[in-house]
């Protein structure tokens, strides 16, 4: 047997790996870690979105403006920018909620503003919870 032949022989021996008895268990462990990683990522993203949403709403509360006043356009833009930072679509959600409950002409620093805050926060929590449930079902 030459040295080259021995090299080939060594590679053949390395390639021969009998299937281990616990290979199924090993595969299940890898799959479990993949699933848990996916769930963790979903929860982290949801939590980040939720925190961002609440933060954006809180920031918007710092502006004492009325949507029916002459400054409405500028203030709406500010509100929209804040909500965009929290993740897409929140601006439309807030507007829809405001219109539905008839708070579109109320001052944000008033009691109505506080109600609006809690309504929006509750909506975001609901959406986030629904997202977590859906993602955990898919995982």
């Amino acid at each position: 047997m030459s040295a080259d032949e021995f090299d080939v022989d060594i590679e053949r021996m390395f390639a021969q790996t009998p299937r281990m008895a616990d290979s199924e268990l090993f595969a299940s462990r890898v799959e479990a870690r993949l699933a848990s990683g996916s769930r963790l990522r979903a929860v982290a993203l949801t939590a980040a979105g939720l925190i961002g949403g609440v933060f954006a709403v809180r920031e918007s509360m710092n502006f004492d403006f009325s949507l029916s006043s002459g400054q409405a356009q500028t203030q709406t833009q500010t509100l929209g920018q804040g909500l965009e930072a929290a993740g897409g679509g929140a601006n439309d959600v807030v507007r829809a909620v405001v219109d539905q409950i008839g708070l579109s002409d109320m001052g944000m620093g008033s009691m109505g503003g506080m109600q609006l805050f809690w309504v929006v926060a509750a909506t975001l929590v609901f959406i986030a919870a629904a997202g977590v449930v859906k993602l955990s079902q898919e995982a």
């Binding site: 047997m1 040295a3 021995f6 090299d7 022989d9 060594i10 590679e11 021996m13 390395f14 790996t17 009998p18 299937r19 281990m20 290979s23 199924e24 090993f26 595969a27 462990r29 890898v30 799959e31 870690r33 993949l34 699933a35 990683g37 996916s38």
Partner: protein, 186 residues
């Protein structure tokens, strides 16, 4: 009718895994898990350590599945990932560098006993074992091994050669004997 996972080629499964298919990736783990774990053990990892690193290697492979183009085999690709993870871990410990500096005792050759590869690998120094396993088990070139282990190319070649000489002495002693006989008579 959709094909069963068992009927699909590694490249197809890898493509589906790259799109987030965990079931498809699970099938790849079933197919190649033993080979990856065996390579790590041959490199010198203890069984539990080998399993941990193999799991990490497969998780890394899942995240990077989109990079697998099917140029080589999927098993070889994951083996390289696993081997690099093992080297990183060993480099952190810096044990194999220290151990490689030590002169190990000459292996006692029991020629009457049939030795298998796993037993023969135990006669190599840790760094020789890693170099030979990377070269012949993971299919890495000498420059790739040198880069992965942060060693000079010449050193890697020496480790591989010495390791192979020792393996030859264990696994094919008749070749060593005949080589010596030729050398003496010449």
């Amino acid at each position: 009718m959709p094909r069963s996972l068992l009927d699909q080629h590694d490249v197809e499964l890898a493509a589906l895994a790259a799109a987030g298919g965990r079931r498809e990736f699970g099938e790849l783990v079933r197919r190649h898990g033993s080979a990856v774990r065996a390579l790590l053990r041959r490199m010198g990892a203890q069984a539990s350590e080998a399993d941990d690193i193999a799991q990490d290697a497969f998780l890394t492979a899942f995240q990077r599945c989109g990079e697998f183009r099917g140029d080589g085999t999927f098993a070889a690709w994951v083996k390289r990932i696993a081997a690099r993870l093992y080297i990183k871990r060993k480099a952190r410990d810096a044990r194999y560098v220290e151990e490689s500096a030590q002169e190990e005792a000459a292996p006692v050759i029991d020629r009457g006993r049939l030795m298998d590869l796993d037993e023969a690998l135990k006669t190599l120094s840790p760094v020789e074992r890693i170099c030979v396993s990377l070269c012949h088990g993971a299919g890495m070139s000498h420059p790739e091994i040198a880069a992965a282990m942060n060693l000079p190319l010449g050193t890697v070649k020496s480790h591989v050669k010495r390791g192979l000489d020792k393996l030859r002495a264990r696994l094919a002693p008749e070749q060593v004997e005949s080589g010596r006989a030729v050398h003496v008579s010449g």
